[in-house]
């Protein structure tokens, strides 16, 4: 596709979907939302088909329903802004440009579940967002207090630990502990922060929730597919020739369409969903859908052209997981180390190529036995890259 056709098509996409970054006045929205009953809000979010935008895709309304039904004297809403997945930078952009839409999302969630306190857990690497964000939060707290609401929001800063993006590790961190994930169940919706029912949402999920409540479920539901309703903010990096990296797109595109739009065409693999996601090789571009029916993603799309070594890519990801593993459970602590040592040994010829098959089995074991999403998903890039680019790992 020539570049002017690409430009035109990208412009069409932008025209069709413009929810997150659209400018609007939030005062009117707050008044409208505060008149609505919690049941109505829950119903609207249910009807929209919104699922968590952090990558796991749990239905948003169900989280709200569970937390709403949980009996407790205190409940909490947490905005997970611990965006650490390599290749992901959408939450930073949303917080910079549209914090005004994140906070009402927290308020509506709080109204539905019955919480009076919300936290934004902002990763330490984004500390430079604090001055503007704190001001925004202060204004918001003041505004809703004037409207007679008891809810208030506080920002907590992370300190450089990827695993704290996992919701129970995040809660541990908020409680002043090492960010070690908890066993689930109990899930945070029944026992979360300080043992109280807690809903943890990705930044983007909260923005969509507030848009759905303010503009009605139709604006969201009319986009996407039946499994993956709505739109999603994507972060595009790697071998793309475009300067811009953030696009809100309808769900359900194939990787082929995606690559045609966002690269000059010479792409041999796309890592979908960051380091913990899946690597899709060129031969599968046409029949792989970006969404819950194909490859799910928290938004990260990294493009690799034919000059890139997939050994280097996998090696970099494994070093990352080995370092960020909290070390609590054996499958992840030892598994990540062994996968890394293993591909180095195969590359140097110290181990035969069949050793990769043993490592794939080990990765499969991590997927079923690691305690949290980090250890389980560290296996994803390993299994997909070794399957599709085995010769690059060997030679």
């Amino acid at each position: 596709m020539d570049s002017s056709t690409r430009e035109r098509r990208i412009a069409e996409h932008k025209k069709r979907v413009n929810l997150i970054f659209k400018k609007c006045v939030w005062d009117d929205f707050l008044d409208r939302a505060l008149e609505m009953s919690p049941e109505d809000m829950l119903e609207k979010v249910k009807e929209s088909g919104l699922r968590g935008r952090g990558g796991a895709g749990f239905p948003t309304w169900l989280k709200w329903k569970f937390a709403r039904e949980a009996e407790a004297d205190e409940k909490y809403v947490i905005c997970n802004a611990d965006e650490g997945e390599p290749g992901t930078f959408k939450d930073r952009a949303i917080l910079q440009e549209q914090a005004g839409k994140v906070l009402p999302g927290m308020l509506v969630c709080a109204k539905v579940i019955g919480a009076e306190k919300g936290f934004i857990y902002l990763r330490g690497e984004y500390a430079y967002l604090l001055p503007a964000l704190s001001q925004e939060v202060e204004n918001f707290n003041e505004k809703i207090r004037e409207k007679g609401e008891r809810f208030s929001i506080e920002i907590k800063l992370g300190s450089g630990a990827y695993v704290c993006g996992e919701e129970t590790a995040l809660i541990e961190s908020l409680e002043g502990n090492r960010g070690e994930p908890r066993n689930k169940p109990p899930f945070p919706v029944s026992e979360g922060y300080l043992g109280k029912p807690t809903v943890v949402h990705n930044v983007e999920t909260l923005v969509y929730a507030s848009i759905i409540i303010s503009e009605g479920p139709e604006c969201f539901k009319s986009l996407g597919t039946s499994d993956s309703a709505g739109a999603k903010v994507f972060c595009i990096s790697g071998d793309t020739d475009l300067d811009e990296g953030i696009y809100e797109l309808e769900m359900g595109m194939t990787i082929k369409e995606f690559v045609e739009l966002f690269s000059d065409g010479d792409i041999k693999a796309v890592q979908v969903g960051g380091a913990s996601g899946h690597c899709v090789p060129r031969k599968k571009f046409a029949d792989t859908i970006i969404g819950f029916e194909g490859v799910p993603t928290g938004g990260s799309m990294v493009l690799f052209n034919s000059s890139r070594s997939m050994y280097n890519v996998l090696h970099n990801y494994l070093e990352f997981f080995e370092e960020e593993s909290c070390g609590q459970c054996t499958p992840c602590r030892i598994g990540c180390q062994q996968l890394l040592k293993g591909i180095e040994a195969v590359k140097s010829g110290e181990k035969p190529s069949e050793y990769l098959d043993d490592l794939v089995k080990l990765a499969g074991m991590m997927k079923i036995s690691a305690k949290c999403g980090l250890g389980q998903s560290a296996a994803n890039p390993f299994i997909s890259i070794v399957e599709h680019f085995r010769e690059e790992i060997m030679y």
């Binding site: 390599p86 992901t88 930078f89 939450d91 690497e125 450089g160 002043g176 972060c235 970099n316």
Partner: protein, 151 residues
């Protein structure tokens, strides 16, 4: 402010409950760049918890350093995407300018140069943080100029 004063003032501000441990440690790091053993023991005393608990938390988080670091901390992203856009040359240029290797601190204590994981500027790599400020789309020249702002 003496370290003792800093700690008790911070504990006063955040509250002496366990859940406020990390904000207190962050205050100390912001002021002194790292957590000394003495500081960790004082925090434990303030919050009435074991120093081992404080040490356990401090060593879990990569931004809560327990070894002395330079006055300015440069953290360069080591993720593959920044690497694909020339992070190696940027690292070499900063190493040459500061006469230290990645992972080291200058003898005058002015700079530490550390690798870090993704800082969320992948479409504008290579990227780095100097203290809390982000620098992206780096070339060896712009990276050195950024470092020189702090000299």
């Amino acid at each position: 402010m003496s370290p003792e004063d800093l700690i008790s003032r911070s504990a006063e501000k955040h509250g002496r409950e366990r859940k406020n441990l990390i904000p207190i440690l962050q205050d100390i790091v912001r002021e002194n760049s790292y957590l000394s053993e003495e500081a960790m023991v004082s925090v434990a005393r303030e919050l009435d918890i074991s120093p081992a608990e404080v040490y356990g938390v401090a060593t879990f988080y990569s931004f809560l350093d327990t070894k002395p670091l330079g006055k300015n901390i440069i953290r360069i992203c080591k993720t593959i995407i920044c690497y694909m856009h020339g992070q190696d040359e940027v690292i070499r240029a900063i190493e040459d300018r500061l006469k230290i290797k990645l992972g080291e601190t200058t003898p005058d204590g002015e700079f530490s140069f550390l690798p870090t994981n993704c800082i969320g500027h992948c479409h504008k790599g290579p990227a780095m943080l100097i203290n809390d400020r982000v620098y992206s789309s780096l070339t060896p020249e712009t990276a050195v100029r950024a470092v020189e702002e702090y000299i």
